[in-house]
Symmetry: C2
Subunit: 440 residues, 2 copies
Amino acid sequence: MTSVSTSPATDRTAPSPVLECARRARGAAEALAPLPRAAKDAALLAVADALESRAAEIVEANAGDVARARETGTSESVVDRLTLTPERVRAMASDVRDVVALPDPVGEVVRGSTLPNGIDLRQVRVPLGVVGIVYEARPNVTVDAAALCVKSGNAVLLRGSSSAYASNRALVAVVRDAVAGAGLPADAVQLVPGESRDSVRELMRARGLVDVLIPRGGASLIRTVVEESTVPVIETGTGNCHVYVDAGADLRMALDILLNSKAQRPSVCNAAETLLVHEDIAAEFLPPALAALAGAGVTVHGDERVVAAAEAAGTSARVVPATAEDWETEYLSYDIAAAVVPSLDAAVAHIREWSSGHTEAIVTSSQSSARRFTQLVDSTTVAVNASTRFTDGSEFGFGAEIGISTQKLHARGPMGLPEMTSTKYVVTGDGHVRGGVPGS
Amino acid sequence: MTSVSTSPATDRTAPSPVLECARRARGAAEALAPLPRAAKDAALLAVADALESRAAEIVEANAGDVARARETGTSESVVDRLTLTPERVRAMASDVRDVVALPDPVGEVVRGSTLPNGIDLRQVRVPLGVVGIVYEARPNVTVDAAALCVKSGNAVLLRGSSSAYASNRALVAVVRDAVAGAGLPADAVQLVPGESRDSVRELMRARGLVDVLIPRGGASLIRTVVEESTVPVIETGTGNCHVYVDAGADLRMALDILLNSKAQRPSVCNAAETLLVHEDIAAEFLPPALAALAGAGVTVHGDERVVAAAEAAGTSARVVPATAEDWETEYLSYDIAAAVVPSLDAAVAHIREWSSGHTEAIVTSSQSSARRFTQLVDSTTVAVNASTRFTDGSEFGFGAEIGISTQKLHARGPMGLPEMTSTKYVVTGDGHVRGGVPGS
């Protein structure tokens, strides 16, 4: 579809199995695009049923991955994320049925009008085409991403973690059989062959065959894809989120929002990683805040004033001095950086310098502070008197989430089904020409 | 703003003048983002006035570029595109006033709701930030792009053609003075220093400082940017547009749409480059079509059946045999490729294989053909019984156009002011937390 590509993807004799997948995906995408909702929903219901009826073979394949992970000394928390049980497979099926219930974004008329010359103009949603998803350990992403792509009329190329390869192969086999049984092309859902990094590299160069690549995972994976891909990328998920406690904030509210943002689930991208406190409220807020963070098992990486406040209040047991690196760290753990700032504008400047642009929260009683913070902070989500943890597709009512985009182009913040589409214009005339017919 | 960047742009000691520009642009963008419409409009009106009052110095600077172009043997048509006159400068000022009249996209609430937990959720339009535009000869793009960026709250880095460098420098000086005089940061509009290709290369690597790069110009420029940029790109403008004449089409309408699409202005991206004719209508349509194209000075690069039809009808004077290359060529001249196809689906398959995905038109009397073509053709614009030439921001009523995106991400088709924005979510609560406060 892209006229200016010179990448290997346009060399039609290239023998790469990844590009072969991508070509088959393009064919499947062309078949999926015009399908009505009913056909896609029927296929997804068949997928949900098949996941339940074939749970045993999925769990068996997964057991092999789990055994290999244990042999190679993988941490128990990662093993837990990898492990599938019959209950977890049933939960996947249930998630697929939730996707069935969502409206189909394809065909939605985004805008429409009759132009002065009488032409009818409509901008309608269409699928993106072929979506590549590169992700890490959790095999539930396999089914989740497949369901969201099929629902939005896209073919998907799944490139999961090599540690979950057997699980993903079993899951994709079940999904493909069900999709094909419902009359859709099986190649709408494909697992990218090969466990090596080469297959990711080939996907990244498949410009013209793959319409978008969505990396879901750690910062190093995302960095690689962003830097090296010639296929357009939607960058997801890195979250160095801030909580700023304004002068005159309600202290109880600030404490609750801080603890919830940091410690309710520290391993996710919308957890807070830095606390900024206005100096006018620092003496009052820091002692109970540091005590509460310590009580929740959180280590505070504080600037000089935070360390001094902790020493003065006798709550320095879990407070260590911060280095510049702390301001840009996404801990994803029971750690938080903390600084005292002289003003709201200084908090904004700190955020501009160090934030990953995911989510920043202000706790304030002042309407003008709320307004200024909201205007000046340029992140996917700005929260006023609410936890950073709300930045989430289900919390936002989207019903599903393919990831949280931290870029500005195409989609920003939690991505639901509409973000998995593009648009096209349909111009309908009655023999309309522009500026006359040459020679007439 | 981007946490995962490892590009030279994040090396804060890099001495490059391009990156220095980009850093100043980022500061200007932060100042522009919260500005209300009135402030931006006032600055743009000052720009329009200044263009008129300082037209002489602009025309003088331009005369140097024109003289150099003539010395180096540039073609007269390119020299014409480069040349500025007092009238043309006045036209630029008038275009800026047209931009003033357009609504400000920033601050528009794209969607909003109150969530079940009482949180108010709003998705609002915000500027993209720093926009880089790389373009070729026409200096009017300089002012046009600057006005559209300022109106949408973006800072712009302009990298025009080296052949127009003196003109662009004069124009940007006028714009910056006027912008600064109105109280906005002059660095909202900057000409990228340096006339060599290196400055384009540096722009392409300024990830984290430049939010989007928009190449406007020939296929080779666009290809370079798409292939090499780590800054997100919006691909514009390559148009290998098709006109398909369906069986049973109104012959007069088909002829008018064909001639208008091809020959009313052949040098633009929405001009038709390939004619596809259903075999059932070929014998009737081709003789008058080939005669009319010849009459308009168009050379037809035909497949075997077109060549045979031309010979049979005695209209082969301007018909030459097509090669495979013709199907993918954007002539931008009085040339058109032409083929006879056995069916609508064959026309769709031809378009899928060869089109650049810009605009394809069908001429048909059949409702089901119109519907099928519209569903199956995946281009920025599908025209039914209308010329391909309507794919245009002003024709679509957008009032301005920064380019025509031929990619699927972010923007597709003519881009108006809303396409120059991103969005952010604003979450407003009253102390809302998610799933409980740890330790409470």
